[in-house]
């Protein structure tokens, strides 16, 4: 729960504060001054500390655990093993499917990946718990592990029929096409690598559980805890006012969460458990490694006749993750014939998870490199190639786009970048010992829609409170909801306080898939509208109100002051009105759900993702779009790639706050640079273990790796996508960056690197 105060110079404030204004993050000062308290910073009486013991094998059985030394170590309160941890119930998955097993043990007897939690130690201090955890001895019966997709034992995997997309006769049309390319593209295991690690503080009071945990989905995680412990949903309270980065990884309650909550219940004391950095690479899934082949057949004039796409992603031995690899392939270009199929292969890893633009990101790497290869096969400019095959409608859903400003994005990006000055031949641009390459690629992300709920309160002093169990992980929810409420109610932003990150507030679904801003601005707009109606109704109807005698139909509120539309008659501040009519507060709860939604449907809407609305529902296909233009410099001796310029033009529809949208886009682009050039979870193939699970060895880009990034908004309001006309922002930016860089590297060097990341040893 948080209150933010923002004061602005009056002259600028109206422009900045309106929806669409470049208001700075209202939570910024609290973060900079340290006043923002993150989940792990709760100071609780009697707090204990838990530390996990991870499996040192990737596959096999735990045959024995010797806890004696740990149990007698100083400060130790409990050593938990699969045999001693309390029994939990199975919990349904995030689609709401009931659990396969009725019980759940978060500590493993059967090890399916290296680092899996097999035991935990709880002690009075963190240091005591760390020391005692090192004393726990575990014996295993090891069996051969399938370490990755290229493991001989991995096989072809399981076909995912729901991912198959077919129209026309793709194989025959490919075979008949006069110009053909076919290539394989691979992306490695990548990690979300948020600065704030995963972890939680759990406290039980009777049958009520409070969990302080960084979370992208309070209601969904609260449901999981409630099911594990067999307590009513209302008994679980999740608190997560600030999140130090999630990127998709913090939406679920995980095994370590269960261990901490169980330990707290067993000990009757609050327990804090924070994963150390290496554990952050093995306790939850990053982006699955993927393999794709893309075959494109075209006419000699460059018109695509057929696309044949096959994809594989890794998943866990005991969990399913599908990274939809055909998602961009099937919509980016017009083609009369298309085929996409996907398998998943079980390997000994933790279940992979969502990382920024799951599916679209690797999918774009395949198709956007392949289209570049086809352009070179035909001797065409890669940008022209894309325009020749521009999809005027959704080729898969066969529906018109709600809005698609991709042509505008290509034009604006090319203009700002100076694309016209490019010479098409590889290795044709250089400066001293640097080969220069210019590459382009497009990206897209579907508009994921759902429903949300918000409470807007007007208080006696005229201030406004917005409450929602949605969260702000840096993307700007606090700010845009303040802007939305302020604009709807006609009050300055400084009068609005937004409270987020508490599951006891009005409900919200998952913050993921770039849906939150669209959902929550809609809900706040609605709740604030209701509050405004009530305020005006009160002003007009209450006999004590000076507006009563006006006999007017309506009133306006501007800058926190109430007046008649024409300005004649009295003018009161909201506080003055509340005072004369003797009201303490006006409360309005608004939601975007259809009127006759049952309580069960409401619950499912907020605690599962089963109820999100398909982006192709109704008459339109809804997506955000972007085009990235990239310049790289490759040292001809060393093979080192430096990104020296990025211009991206993006269509996210209407922007609620361009400053925040730009920083989301840039964050995505920076992550894309890391993905293209640096990031890779490196597996020891003998042990099935990630050997670079730390921030010195898992390479993320530094400031020195990032050039100036120019972003251009080409979006127009899209009324089919959200109440206020916005489309998704957060995921979009990364989609297409890696292929743009790979294409630029080809242009610079004449070498196609189809395996990410593009490290120097692949170019030397």
């Amino acid at each position: 729960m948080t209150v933010h105060d923002m004061k602005h110079a009056a002259s600028d404030s109206a422009r900045l504060e309106a929806v669409g204004g470049r208001l700075s993050r209202v939570d910024g000062p609290a973060k900079i001054t340290g006043a923002a308290h993150y989940a792990f910073e709760q100071q609780l009486e009697g707090l204990t500390h838990a530390v996990l013991v991870g499996a040192t094998i990737a596959a096999g059985k735990v045959t024995a655990i010797d806890t004696r030394a740990a149990e007698t170590a100083p400060g130790v309160l409990a050593v938990l093993t699969p045999d001693t941890i309390m029994a939990l119930k199975g919990a349904s998955d995030w689609f709401g499917n009931p659990p396969a097993l009725s019980t759940y043990c978060p500590l493993a007897r059967e090890v399916t990946f290296s680092g899996q939690h097999v035991a935990a130690v709880v002690a009075e201090t963190f240091e005591q718990a760390v020391a005692a955890a090192a004393l726990v001895k575990v014996w295993y019966d090891e069996t051969p592990a399938i370490v990755d997709l290229s493991d001989g034992k991995a096989g072809d995997g399981i076909p995912i029929d729901a991912m198959a997309k077919e129209w026309g006769d793709a194989q025959a049309a490919f075979a008949a096409a006069p110009v053909r390319i076919c290539a394989a593209y691979n992306t490695p295991r990548e990690f979300q690598a948020a600065m704030e690690p995963h972890g939680l503080i759990a406290r039980w009071e009777g049958d009520e559980l409070t969990v302080w945990e960084p979370s992208q989905w309070l209601d969904g995680m609260a449901r999981t805890y409630a099911e594990w412990f067999g307590v009513p949903f209302e008994n679980v309270r999740l608190v997560s006012p600030y999140i130090g980065g999630g990127f998709g990884s913090k939406a679920l309650a995980l095994a370590h969460s269960a261990v901490a909550a169980a330990a707290a219940r067993m000990l009757g004391r609050p327990v804090k458990l924070v994963l150390n950095r290496p554990q952050n690479f093995t306790s939850y899934g990053g982006r699955a490694a993927t393999r794709q082949t893309v075959a494109i057949g075209a006419d000699r004039d460059g018109k695509i006749q057929s696309i044949v796409h096959r994809g594989v992603n890794e998943t866990a031995v005991d969990g399913m993750w599908v990274e939809p690899l055909g998602s961009v392939t099937s919509i980016m270009y017009a083609t009369p014939n298309f085929s996409s199929k996907q398998n998943v292969v079980r390997v000994n890893t933790v279940v992979p998870g969502a990382k920024r633009a799951p599916g679209e990101n690797p999918s774009a790497f395949g198709i956007e490199c392949a289209i570049d290869e086809l352009a070179y096969e035909l001797g065409l400019d890669p940008l022209e190639m894309r325009l020749i095959n521009y999809a005027e409608q959704d080729p898969h859903a066969k529906k018109p786009w709600s809005t698609r400003q991709l042509r505008e994005a290509f034009a604006a990006g090319a203009e700002a970048f100076g694309w016209a000055k490019r010479s098409n031949a590889p290795r044709s641009m250089r400066e001293d010992r640097q080969l220069i390459g210019w590459g382009v690629a497009a990206g897209t992300y579907p508009v994921r829609r759902a429903h949300g709920e918000a409470v807007v309160n007007i208080l006696a002093d005229g201030s406004v409170e917005v409450e929602s169990s949605s969260i702000d992980m840096g993307q700007g929810t606090y700010t845009i909801l303040a802007q939305t409420a302020a604009e709807t109610l006609g009050v300055p932003v400084s009068q609005v306080s937004v409270k987020l990150g508490d599951s006891h507030f009005a409900r919200a679904g998952v913050t993921g898939g770039s849906r939150l801003a669209g959902v929550m601005t809609g809900a706040v707009h609605k709740a604030a509208g209701q509050a405004l109606d009530e305020l005006i109704g009160l002003a007009l109807s209450d006999p004590r109100s000076p507006f009563h005698r006006l006999q007017a139909n309506t009133l306006v509120v501007k800058d926190g002051r109430i007046a008649s539309p024409r300005g004649e008659g009295p003018e009161l501040s909201i506080a003055e009105l509340m005072s004369v009519v003797g009201r303490e507060r006006i409360e309005a709860k608004g939601d975007t759900l259809p009127a006759r939604t049952t309580p069960e449907e409401r619950y499912a809407n907020y605690t599962t993702i089963a109820k999100s609305i398909p982006h192709t529902e109704g008459d339109y296909s809804r997506h955000s779009w972007c085009a990235h233009f990239v310049e790289v410099r490759v040292d001809e001796d060393f093979g080192t790639v430096r990104v020296s310029r990025v211009v991206s033009a993006l269509d996210s529809g209407r922007l609620y706050n361009p400053k925040l949208a730009e920083s989301q886009w840039k964050g995505g682009i920076i992550m894309g640079i890391g993905q293209a050039l640096l990031e890779e979870g490196i597996v020891d193939r003998r042990h099935g273990r990630i050997v670079n699970g730390n921030f010195a060895d898992y390479m993320l880009p530094t400031n020195a790796d990032i050039p100036d990034i120019q972003t251009i908004s080409v979006g127009i309001p899209d009324p089919h996508s959200s109440a206020l006309g916005g489309k998704g922002v957060g995921e979009l930016g990364i989609v297409g960056v890696a292929p743009a860089i790979a294409n630029a590297v080809f242009h610079a060097t004449g070498k196609r690197v189809r395996d990410l990341p593009i490290t120097l040893e692949k170019l030397i």
Partner: protein, 327 residues
């Protein structure tokens, strides 16, 4: 809790006495020691904090020599005006090392004593076999992920790369390390693994590094440190070279040249064959590139690190060419 005793040494003598205790380890900036303690690699019985000893952080540079106290911070030496003008390779090696935060903490003495980044060395819980950590236990790296491992100076016992930058420049310019009773060439202070991978330095119980001394020379004055890596900052070298050059009066014949390599060998590696091949030769790109290849004589790869054999000579050549351009 994993208990250890903490002693604060106020003088070099006190530090030396304490350092002779079994299981004693010195603490300077702590950026290596605390890191390794967290990994479970360093388990000191006694931590001797030397960071408060006075007078050990002086940096004194004349045309003849640079004298750098063991407690001088990396960032301070990197920014030192005379180090920059008289020993540019030393300054460049330092500012390209680690991150700004680490350089502000880390000391020159500690820097010489940093340990390898071999991932197997740093993860005892998962990889018990490591000859460097526990002699005779084997080497987990051989047959595993060897992308960063050495191609020069390896043995069957250990193929771990010496990761540091500064010592590469020190070796190129014949620097000495002052251990009080003894003074050693930095080149001899570092030991290749051979059959005793656990011995990385010629330092005895009770010895403390007090200073390093770098002789001045024309080659040191015209020197550079070139570090190649995928990430532009905050990454250890895929390959690096410290090079110094002195030309004859004609401006193109090489009178003196120093070449040392980092990121590819088990210790900071002086490439004397390259130096000998180039002395008296003209500063010409083809000649330089050919001579640079000599640095890789005897190189052995372990699969994934093969690229280093191609990369390192190019780094040497480019460093020399860069110096040639800056007359």
């Amino acid at each position: 809790m994993r208990d250890f005793s903490y002693l604060r040494a106020d003088s070099i003598e006190a530090a030396r006495n304490a350092a002779a205790l079994p299981g004693a380890m010195l603490l300077a900036g702590g950026t290596t020691l605390i890191d390794l303690a967290k990994c479970g690699v360093a388990e000191p019985a006694t931590v001797i904090d030397i960071s408060h000893i006075e007078g050990l952080n002086a940096v004194d540079v004349t045309a003849d020599r640079a004298l750098i106290g063991a407690l001088a911070k990396m960032s301070h030496v990197a920014d030192h005006a005379e180090v920059k003008s008289l020993f540019p390779a030393v300054s460049e090696a330092l500012w390209q090392a680690a991150s700004a935060q680490l350089r502000n903490m880390a000391t020159i003495g500690g820097n010489l004593m940093q340990r390898t980044r071999c991932p197997y060395f740093r993860d005892p819980a998962n990889f018990p076999a490591c000859n460097k950590r526990s002699p005779g236990s084997g080497c987990s790296a051989i047959g595993g992920v060897t992308l960063g491992h050495a191609v020069l100076g390896t043995s069957e016992a250990c193929i771990a790369t010496y990761p540091g930058d500064l010592a590469v420049a020190l070796v190129a310019f014949d620097a000495e390390v002052d251990l009080g009773e003894r003074k050693l060439k930095v080149e001899d202070f570092f030991l290749a693994p051979g059959a005793t991978a656990e011995q990385e330095h010629d330092i005895r119980p009770g010895e403390v590094i007090t200073a390093i001394e770098i002789p001045g020379s024309a080659a040191a004055r015209r020197s550079t440190y070139l570090k190649v890596r995928d990430r532009q900052s905050y990454e250890f070298a895929a390959a690096s070279a410290a090079v110094g050059l002195e030309l004859e009066g004609d401006g193109r014949t090489i009178r003196d040249i120093r070449v040392a390599l980092g990121g590819v060998a088990t210790k900071p590696w002086r490439a004397r064959a390259v130096e000998e091949a180039l002395k008296g030769k003209a500063l010409d790109e083809a000649t330089i590139r050919e001579a640079s290849e000599l640095a890789m004589e005897g190189a052995v790869d372990h699969g994934a690190n093969h690229y280093k054999i191609a990369l390192a000579p190019r780094v040497i050549a480019r460093a020399i060419l860069k110096l040639g351009e800056t007359a």
